[in-house]
């Protein structure tokens, strides 16, 4: 029986030599039904063309490094099975809406700055002393923010967001979801420090609720929900009498 094969078309771009990205085809063996797109890229790198560049690390949907456009949809390549595409060819491109560094590698600096700007860590007005023991939470308190804490910063939501594609100053889905994760945490007191970033002109109000960010999230996070609920919260803070605003 003839060996099963699949064609991978991958973006190639060398900023020192190429004016624009181009696609290069690789015909590789599809030897195992459990093969994912990342396995195909690793095969190309090891056996066909060692110069192909891309990011990856854990191979199990945790690190968020291997996000790429797979046939036009943002996906973690470690979670995109070849069997779902075969016998069609698969086109692998760098994530939409980001500058390309080389081949399939994008420049994530802009995203990292946005992430840092919302201070995604627990902020206390006064440090909780170690001697006081654990800062306990009930299950209900954890459920308030649990889904938003699943974000792995893979940036698929940014690649799916046309608003970010048109205006890359937009704070964007993941950064807002993580800001909300901490704003909803009963241990956190940093809401007023995050609000200037969330409520400014490039913050949540830039979102026109396309909703595709939540569709492509590989971890089941709903960033669109985080953004819309933040809109509602900031509005309520504005219209409610001063005494009822949360600190």
């Amino acid at each position: 029986m003839a060996e099963k094969r699949i064609t991978i078309r991958a973006t190639r771009f060398d900023p020192d030599r190429d004016k624009a990205p181009r696609l290069q085809s690789y015909d590789i063996p599809f030897s195992d039904e459990s093969m994912v797109v990342l396995d195909a890229l690793n095969h190309i790198k090891s056996h066909v063309d060692g110069s192909l560049s891309y990011r990856w690390s854990c191979r199990m949907g945790i690190c968020g490094s291997c996000g790429m456009m797979v046939n036009g949809t943002p996906k973690l390549t470690c979670n995109a099975f070849l069997r779902d595409y075969w016998p069609r060819s698969i086109t692998v491109e760098p994530l939409n809406n980001f500058p390309i560094v080389r081949d399939l590698v994008i420049d994530m600096e802009g995203f990292m700055q946005k992430l840092k700007s919302v201070k995604p860590w627990i902020i206390r007005k006064q440090d909780y002393p170690l001697g006081a023991g654990e800062h306990r939470q009930t299950m209900d308190q954890i459920d308030e923010f649990r889904q938003f804490s699943e974000c792995i910063n893979c940036m698929l939501c940014y690649a799916a967001c046309p608003v970010y594609g048109l205006n890359n100053e937009f704070l964007g889905p993941a950064a807002t979801a993580l800001a909300r994760r901490y704003n909803l945490d009963s241990r956190d007191q940093g809401l007023t420090e995050r609000l200037p970033m969330l409520a400014n002109s490039e913050g949540v109000w830039e979102c026109s609720f396309v909703g595709e960010c939540s569709v492509v999230c590989p971890k089941g996070v709903d960033p669109a929900k985080a953004i819309q609920q933040t809109k509602l919260d900031t509005t309520m803070r504005f219209v409610l009498p001063f005494g009822t605003r949360e600190e």
């Binding site: 036009g72 809406n97 046309p162 048109l166 026109s208 569709v215 669109a224 929900k225 609920q229 809109k231």
Partner: protein, 118 residues
């Protein structure tokens, strides 16, 4: 972003349709304002309800208004986050309550309009 990005997939296309519905509704309101302005010249100058063009345009706009309302109320389940007795209200219940309120409001307005017409 290419100009045709919204044709790339169904979800983007439906989003653009949702946003586009505001345009015919705005045009319909402008037309209605114009007709009200004409009504200053007496009942005969106001011909909106008897104009086939206005009625046809209104029917088209009703389709857009219904689609806009449907999408708006469906999204309420994502936006509204309320608790009753300490438990979060399920999104589906929130959406159903919005549609129920919409139906009741429509019935009340229809009854009032029919009442005035008599």
């Amino acid at each position: 972003m290419t100009p045709g990005w919204w044709l790339r997939q169904r979800h983007y296309f439906l989003y653009i349709v949702r946003e586009f519905t505001a345009l015919p509704l705005a045009l319909w309101l402008l037309w209605l304002l114009f007709e009200i302005h004409r009504a200053a010249g007496g009942p005969k100058a106001f011909y909106a309800s008897g104009s086939p063009a206005f009625i046809a345009f209104s029917v088209v706009c009703l389709g857009f208004a219904l689609y806009h309302s449907y999408t708006f109320l469906s999204l309420a389940g994502v936006i509204i986050n309320i608790k009753v007795a300490g438990k979060p209200v399920p999104s589906r219940l929130i959406v159903l309550s919005q549609f129920a309120a919409w139906a009741i409001a429509s019935l009340v307005i229809a009854a009032a309009l029919i009442g005035f017409a008599r």
